[in-house]
């Protein structure tokens, strides 16, 4: 009796463990001969496609490992491996599955195909789990794929368990595969750690005006977040063609502008930019006037192009030079705030890993110089992608499959300190997750970011999302009361403040506005010089838009900046921004009305500086004086008055004398530069003509000024 019990129990468990997989055999489907036959036929067709696809897949993996010395890190890396065969296998295998859902090998195949073609589909995990339940040894690598699927679903512990089981199994693995499993276990540990202390953010879909049922990704935003340009693969793409490899429409660039805080319906960029092949957004200059486009027409790995906004349209993109483009794949561009350095990504051979980040400096001829690797602190032996240099000039955001990623690409941040990059910091969960997190751009203020994600609840495929950083948790404030001083009849309310939390925000000032003609108010295209007043050098030159007159200049904190807005036939307009190193993010709107070179017109020379209470010119005035000299040179018939003004501190007599001396100093400078004294009049007005209140420091500062006026033309 006892023996019978053991025999039955053993038989039951044996059946449970190894015999639950239902094979396509007639004994398993009595009375369903014809259906079985049809299902077998479908299975046979499906297996053929699958086997062909798997062969291509294995070949791809082998080649990848021999080229990179590591396994593909992200499932996207496999996207083109056997893709067509796998897609062809879906339908027949699906039919067979309908007939017999309990076959371990069929579930494995469907899970595998689903994983390679779209692992975000919930059935991927169902297929692998079913296969595992039916026969956990149906394929030697089942545990690996099951582990990876758990990994992509943020089921960290289940993933680690299966990776570990696979690592310890007798299945033969090459060193790259062993290293890959260990890396994935490490990624899961990172994921566990980061998801235990999630970052406080709001993540919002950008809505139907931006997203569609097709994939949207690769956002680029202007520093003031008024314009977004992105890549989409929609049915209205230019030429309407589909790509052979994955069957999707070719990429095109779309743009949307914000009005009253809302994104307007996205429009295709013109045919100047979009072609019938791949045209993708690779980056936007901080002022929104230059766009970088990735194009791939099949001739090489894909190249970068630059286009400039002229009026309302982008000029035809220009192929970037050979220092940037190679026969390899170049993508993702970010321009420094002054437009003098270009960061980009390339998978060229000289790199540390697959794709690396490089930079190139603009030479004296305005050409991009030889590319240099950004270095080993940032680049790893794995891929780096989607570089974004913040307009503050010191903070770099990028995606990497290396460092302490949670899986695939994660977004990292590094800061330039004394010429060295700090160790990259993972932006944490839920910004990063187990899947690829890439194409991340952050606003000028540093408080919002934009990225693409396939997360559920979107409009379909990849959508664009906005992240709002909430900063550390804000502690509530209690009301407490104490009667601290005895002589007070009523208690004094005392604010109880919890420890303050610090919110990091970018140290950056955005200056924007519209340049117009002072008389007609018509928008003007003009050049805008950004000057380092301490070094007396022009850091960069920007242009206002020829149609709208709009301009945007980003000013990282820590410098005394001069701004000169210039246009031929007009008097230049100058502004001064002295931004201490700790100046937090701020936005200034300064509309500039340029005055024509006409008699009676006056401008304030905001970048002429005198020593305190003296009439000695400070060296920082050099650039403004040069502009003044140029104006006199360009207009050889004009006669001008230099007039200085003071605030109302000090006696009238003293102020009159000081201002007179200051005007004379400027005139003397101009005479020393060879201009005839007969064209120059120096006048001191003292405190007699204030333009602002003398009751505030700001007002007094405005009143202390040097102007010039055109007397004759």
């Amino acid at each position: 009796m006892k023996n019978l019990f053991f025999t039955l129990t053993f038989s039951f468990f044996y059946a449970f463990l190894f015999s639950q997989s239902v094979e396509f055999e007639k004994d398993n489907f009595p009375g369903r001969k014809d259906e079985l036959k049809a299902a077998r036929k479908q299975l046979e067709i499906g297996i053929e496609f699958y086997s062909n696809g798997r062969q291509e897949f294995d070949e791809f993996k082998k080649t990848f490992i021999s080229e990179h010395r590591y396994c593909p890190v992200s499932h996207y890396d496999y996207q083109k491996a056997g893709h067509q065969n796998f897609r062809s296998a879906i339908s027949p295998l699906g039919e067979a599955q309908k007939f017999n859902p309990n076959n371990a090998r069929l579930n494995y195949m469907l899970g595998f195909i689903s994983f390679i073609t779209d692992p975000s589909m919930p059935q991927t995990l169902t297929y692998f789990e079913t296969a595992h339940k039916l026969n956990n040894q149906v394929e030697p690598d089942l545990l690996f794929w099951l582990g990876w699927t758990y990994h992509l679903n943020s089921k960290w512990d289940d993933a680690i368990k299966n990776y570990q089981l696979y690592l310890n199994s007798g299945n033969k693995k090459n060193p790259a595969e062993t290293e890959d499993i260990k890396k994935k276990i490490e990624e899961c540990n990172n994921g566990k750690k980061f998801s235990a202390t999630p970052e406080r953010v709001f993540v919002d879909n950008l809505g139907a005006n931006i997203n569609s049922s097709y994939p949207e990704y690769g956002p680029s935003i202007s520093t003031d977040e008024e314009m977004i340009i992105f890549t989409a693969r929609r049915d209205n793409s230019t030429g309407g063609k589909r790509e052979e490899n994955d069957g999707g429409f070719y990429e095109d660039l779309f743009v949307s502008n914000k009005q009253a805080g809302k994104w307007q319906p996205a429009k295709l960029l013109s045919k100047n930019v979009n072609t019938e092949f791949h045209d993708a957004a690779a980056g936007l200059s901080p002022d929104g006037s230059k766009l970088y486009v990735y194009r791939h027409s099949g001739r090489d790995g894909g190249d970068l192009y630059e286009t400039v906004l002229f009026g309302a349209d982008w000029e035809p993109p220009v192929h970037m030079n050979k220092n940037i483009n190679t026969k390899y794949h170049e993508s993702s561009v970010s321009l420094s705030f002054d437009g003098k350095r270009l960061y980009f990504v390339s998978d060229k051979e000289s790199g540390l890993g697959d794709r690396d980040i490089y930079y190139s400096d603009m030479d004296v001829k305005g050409e991009w110089g030889p590319a240099k690797s950004i270095g080993t602190i940032i680049n790893t032996k794995f891929s780096e992608e989607a570089v974004f240099m913040h307009p503050d000039g010191v903070t770099l955001y990028f995606s990497s499959k290396g460092h302490n990623s949670m899986g695939g690409y994660d977004i990292f941040k590094s800061t330039l300190v004394n010429g060295l990059w700090t160790t990259p910091v993972n932006l944490g969960y839920p910004i990063n997750g187990p899947d690829d997190d890439v194409f991340f751009v952050i606003s000028g203020s540093g408080n919002r970011a934009y990225f693409a994600s396939s997360k559920t609840g979107g409009y379909g495929e990849k959508d664009l999302y906005k992240i709002t950083f909430l900063g550390p948790e804000k502690m509530p404030l209690l009301n407490t009361q104490d009667q601290l001083m005895s002589m007070i009849a009523n208690p004094v309310s005392n604010l109880k403040t919890e420890n303050a939390v610090t919110i990091a925000s970018a140290k950056l000032t955005i200056l924007k506005g519209v340049v117009t003609d002072a008389k007609t108010s018509a928008p003007l295209e003009s050049s805008i010089d950004l000057i380092d007043n301490d070094l007396n050098i022009v850091l960069a030159t920007f242009k206002s838009n020829s149609t709208t007159g709009k301009y945007l200049v980003t000013l990282p904190s820590g410098k005394n900046y001069g701004i000169a807005v210039k246009r031929e036939g007009y008097l230049f307009h100058s502004e001064n921004f002295n931004l201490p190193d700790d100046m937090a993010y701020q936005e200034f709107t300064k509309n500039v009305a340029l005055k024509k070179v006409e008699v009676g017109n006056t401008i304030v020379l905001k970048n002429i500086f005198f020593d305190f209470d003296k009439y000695t010119l400070r060296p920082q005035s050099g650039n403004e004086l040069e502009r003044l000299s140029k104006l006199l040179n360009d207009n050889p018939t004009i006669k001008i008055e230099i007039g200085s003004h003071t605030d109302n501190r000090g006696s009238d007599e003293y102020n009159l004398k000081l201002s007179g001396n200051r005007s004379k100093t400027v005139v003397d400078y101009l005479i020393s530069k060879g201009f005839s004294a007969s064209r120059l009049v120096a006048k001191g007005y003292g405190e007699s003509k204030p333009i602002d209140s003398n009751d505030t420091e700001d007002g007094r500062q405005n009143n202390r000024r040097t102007e010039f006026k055109i007397l004759e033309k």
């Binding site: 009301n479 104490d482 009667q483 001083m485 002589m487 007070i488 009849a489 004094v492």
Partner: protein, 351 residues
């Protein structure tokens, strides 16, 4: 400065009584004696808080003896109580002219300025008093108060210490010195001073509350809760101690006990704005932002100048995605002196 509106006038009164005592008079009255009799009646009227009668009595006294300096000084006190500061000042100045070396006259003059919130003038009068009597305990005490008010806590402590040295049982000086030490985050020093004050007079429940708060700020929550409870034993209706005990529980992460105390405050005072705000704080901690917004709104309804309530409602609104409301609340909180709101505004409300 608002606390100057609500000074305990009794203190002023006690100074007057102490410095300008009654005078014995005989039956056959000379003009000087008549003046003294009226003076005494004036003092009695002051004691009854009958300030108009006191003025009349001192008028009579001064009619008999126009150079009666004490009568002038006390009429000044009566005028001060009647808020007739110009006449008060006129009288005290005449008293000082008649007797330049009486420190009490200068001290009373300082209190006239104190009543008018003329702090600089009060300070000068106190200094004149202290020139004559550097150990004048009340003058030292008030000088300490002035420094305290100007947030010059080291100087405040120096003068409170002088007051204590002159008058070792000066309970208020101990309390206020403790408070000045607390302002300097010297909680141990504050605790020592409050405890000393309580050994002098343990009936002063507000000092027990201060002691509890010093323990709370020193993060000794069990002692804080124990001390607030003692204050509540002495005066069960002392809602400040009840509310502060709730705060101690809150900071000790005992949100349940905190909630009980804040709700108990509301039971006794259903319009207590602070209790509503403190309940909002608990709701924020519990991530119940809807409730937090509701509680903070109630607080604002009963106290439209409660900065922390605006601040807390801003936090709740941010999490409820009411961005405009959140920013307007934080801006209001900043206007009401909650400086912590500034960084949140900078980070969130640029649009």
């Amino acid at each position: 400065m608002k606390f100057y509106n609500i000074i305990i006038i009794l203190f002023l009164f006690s100074i007057k009584i102490k410095s300008q005592d009654t005078i014995k008079v005989n039956a056959n009255l000379s003009p000087a004696q008549l003046a003294e009799q009226d003076y005494n009646n004036g003092i009695e009227a002051l004691k009854r808080n009958d300030f108009e009668s006191a003025v009349n009595m001192f008028n009579n006294s001064l009619a008999s003896n126009p150079s009666f300096d004490k009568a002038l000084a006390n009429r000044a006190v009566a005028y001060t109580q009647l808020k007739n500061y110009n006449l008060a000042l006129l009288d005290i100045n005449r008293a000082i002219t008649l007797n330049t070396y009486n420190p009490e006259f200068y001290f009373n003059k300082s209190l006239i300025f104190f009543s008018q919130q003329l702090l600089d003038s009060q300070s000068v009068a106190l200094e004149n008093c202290l020139k004559i009597n550097p150990a004048h305990p009340e003058a030292c005490y008030y000088k300490g108060m002035l420094h305290y008010e100007f947030k010059e806590f080291d100087k405040a402590i120096e003068y409170y210490t002088k007051a204590i040295n002159s008058k070792p049982n000066y309970v208020y000086a101990y309390n206020d010195r403790g408070s000045a030490k607390r302002e300097k985050s010297d909680y141990t020093g504050a605790i020592a001073d409050y405890e000393k004050a309580l050994t002098i007079d343990n009936s002063l429940f507000f000092i027990l509350n201060n002691l509890g708060s010093a323990y709370r700020l020193n993060k000794n929550y069990s002692k804080a809760i124990e001390t607030y409870s003692k204050a509540l034993q002495k005066k069960p209706s002392y809602l400040i101690a009840l509310s502060n005990r709730g705060a101690a529980h809150f900071e000790n992460n005992n949100l349940k006990a905190a909630q009980e105390d804040f709700e108990a405050v509301l039971k006794q005072d259903p319009k207590n704005a602070y209790a509503y705000n403190n309940l909002a704080s608990i709701a924020i901690k519990n991530k119940d932002y809807k409730k937090a917004k509701e509680m903070a709104s109630r607080s604002i309804e009963f106290d439209p100048k409660n900065g922390p309530a605006f601040y807390n409602r801003g936090i709740a609104r941010q999490m409820l995605r009411e961005e405009e409301g959140c920013c307007s609340d934080w801006k209001k909180a900043l206007d009401l002196g909650v400086n912590d709101a500034k960084m949140f505004i900078n980070a969130t409300c640029l649009d």
